[in-house]
Amino acid sequence: MTTPGTTPAAGLINIAPPQVEWPQGDFPTAAHQLLKDSQLRKNVRHATNVINAKRAIVVGEMPDWEHLRDAGSAIKQHTLDHLDQYLLEFEAACTAAGGHVHWAVDAAEANRIAVEIVRRHQVSEVIKIKSMTTEEIELNHALEAAGVHPTETDLAELIIQMGHDKPSHIIVPALHKNRGQVREMFRREMNLPDLGDTPEDLADAARRYLREKFLSVKVAISGANFLIAETGGVCILESEGNGRMCLTLPDVLISVVGLEKVIPRFRDLEVFLQTLPRSSTGERMNPYNSIWTGVRPGDGPQEFHVILLDNGRSAILHDAEAKQTLKCIRCAACQNACPVYRQTGGHAYASVYAGPIGAILTPQLHQTADGRLGDGDSLPYASSLCGACYEVCPVKINIPEVLIHLRRKVVERDQGTISGLFGLWNIGMQTAAAVFESGDRLRLAQRLGRIGQIPFVSKNDFIEHLPLMLSGWTQTRDLAPLPEQSFREWWSERSDRTSHE
């Protein structure tokens, strides 16, 4: 529907400049900005509460849930231990079935391969199935730069695309938006001034918009949930069925998949088809489970490509303590469970992978060949180590353990620089470590602390303002001053008394 007098721009989408202001800076700075957005926090809180409650119910139904977690974890661990072997097996099987396998060392190479395939087919438009991997490599930008317009077919991704926004959640990328906000966006971007605000109205508008794409666009791009080494199959789980449209209607299908997505055997799926939907959307099973193996004349796409993406993954594989990061099946249960994510939403992580998995994956994807962490090194500290993520993870990634491992990498890197060595944190930690060398030193430090705190104790005998890095504490919290006597002083006084009696 079009308002008289307005001309819809190319393909009905108004090419408007981005109106969204994304937070800038490291995690604490970005979080500081996002915490002020009470609407966003309400949306995130509501959505995660709903998903967590659904998840708890369907997980509770499974008497063998812990066994399934163990099995999923073991399959993934085994695959990572023999990843080269299974990737080669996949390549051979996929090629034998008529697919083409490409290896991409980084985002640039993956984008180049994808764009070349698209160009060869001389199309100006592609349709996309929801995929975090293509978000990771920013494929949409690469396509647009090559004059190809990508249309997201997943409802939430479409909302993100129309809002010129970025995904803030692995499974529900637009979870930070509520229905009213989506309606406004659709009215504006699809030129539908009379659009109603029921879920049906919104789904209807998207459906009409997308149906035209499914029927006319010749090239589709997807990610994948699993690659099956044994058969060369590509597996996609989804809720809406739009992915299935992309898998069957176009002539050409390109799947961009991280190296770690491979599993050895077809029957390994048995485990993940149970754990993934329950962990991610709180469903017993995904409504649409598609497995795609090669090409068949007259049935579905006639040309099929898999781009195997490294983009930092093999570096993670070589770090024995962090390797478990690659077991992730991107269910987002850890995001929903994380009390930090629940306060800020995903944009604070400045990464397509937000929440606990983002906090460990993102800085590692950006690390240099010698294992030094790159961008996102504030993320390993964006956790209170409460353990809620580990508790829900269907493949048992000990996220707190990896966070601590990455913190160690940050500290050791910083200690190698002058500013790090003489930084307040390092000096404070070195001093504390020296104090903890003996009980006598601790006793002395306690005495000094009682003297040192005097300027900060207020009239009501509490500490309401602290200096330097400790000032963060007293923003919202008071602190009781050190008591006049420590436990150890009390104890030695008491022992003296009893021994003299």
Binding site: C386, V410, G439
Partner: protein
């Protein structure tokens, strides 16, 4: 039994009342207390913040101090979690086989305070009287690392005069997280605001837990808001025999 106490640097320095309560209670139950005076810290702050090189001597010191202990009782679940989850790994990383063996020998003798009472000593009713309205905050480490389950609640139920009220969203983190509260002060404060609101909504006079670190955090907010809700470690409630709730 001869019980060795690790009071933790945090409790020793900031919450001596908790240590005293543990001593009084265990003596009341007929045990002999040993407090090795050279003890300092479990190394948690250094380890969790990423200062592993600095944490290893602290861990060694702990192991040396408690080498000969029969049973080590610790009124802090996060310190016990540190010992159980990371000591072995730290010892292995040091490459010293004797150290690894010592850690392995020590671990089975380490108990969190409430777990020590119930699982080791087999007592639930410790003869306490505490006529107050109390809510229990389950700290993350007690819940997800030590799997204490309802052990602290079962102990509290046996306290005479107590009125226990459930804390909503009991499994949510209070936002302390050691250096997290400083490095990510804003997010930590937002998490704390939720926790403090829940505590206030229970109408409890006292909020208790098995970790003074969380309690210091929660009290920091309750005090800033000028409320009259107090916090007390579980040991202080269990040691109490009817006297007014220990003032902070």
């Amino acid at each position: 039994m001869r019980v060795s106490l690790f009071i933790t640097c945090y409790n020793d320095t900031l919450f001596p009342e908790t240590g005293k309560a543990v001593v009084h209670l265990l003596e009341r139950l007929g045990h002999t207390i040993d407090f090795p005076p050279d003890q300092t810290c479990c190394g948690q702050m250094h380890w969790n913040t990423g200062y592993h090189r600095e944490a290893i001597p602290i861990i060694r010191h702990f192991v040396e101090v408690f080498r000969d202990a029969e049973a080590i009782c610790i009124p802090s679940s996060s310190c016990v979690a540190m010992i159980r989850e990371h000591y072995h790994k730290a010892a292995v990383a040091s490459g010293d086989h004797a150290f690894v063996a010592e850690v392995e020998a020590l671990l089975p003798r380490v108990y969190e305070f409430s777990e020590f009472l119930v699982n080791k000593l087999g007592v639930l009713d410790v003869g306490a009287t505490y006529p107050h309205r109390v809510t229990y905050h389950a700290s993350c480490h007690s819940l997800r690392s030590l799997h204490l389950g309802d052990i602290p609640i079962r102990l509290l139920r046996k306290v005479r005069g107590i009125q226990l009220v459930d804390l909503p969203e009991i499994d949510q983190c209070c936002g302390f997280g050691g250096t997290f509260a400083i490095k990510n002060a804003d997010v930590s404060s937002a998490m704390l605001a939720d926790k403090a609101r829940h505590v206030l909504n229970t109408g409890a006079e006292v909020c208790t837990a098995v970790d003074n670190s969380c309690l210091m955090h929660v009290y920091g907010s309750l005090h800033r808001q000028r409320t009259y809700v107090r916090t007390a470690h579980l040991a202080e409630i269990l040691a109490s025999q009817g006297e007014p709730a220990a003032a902070l």
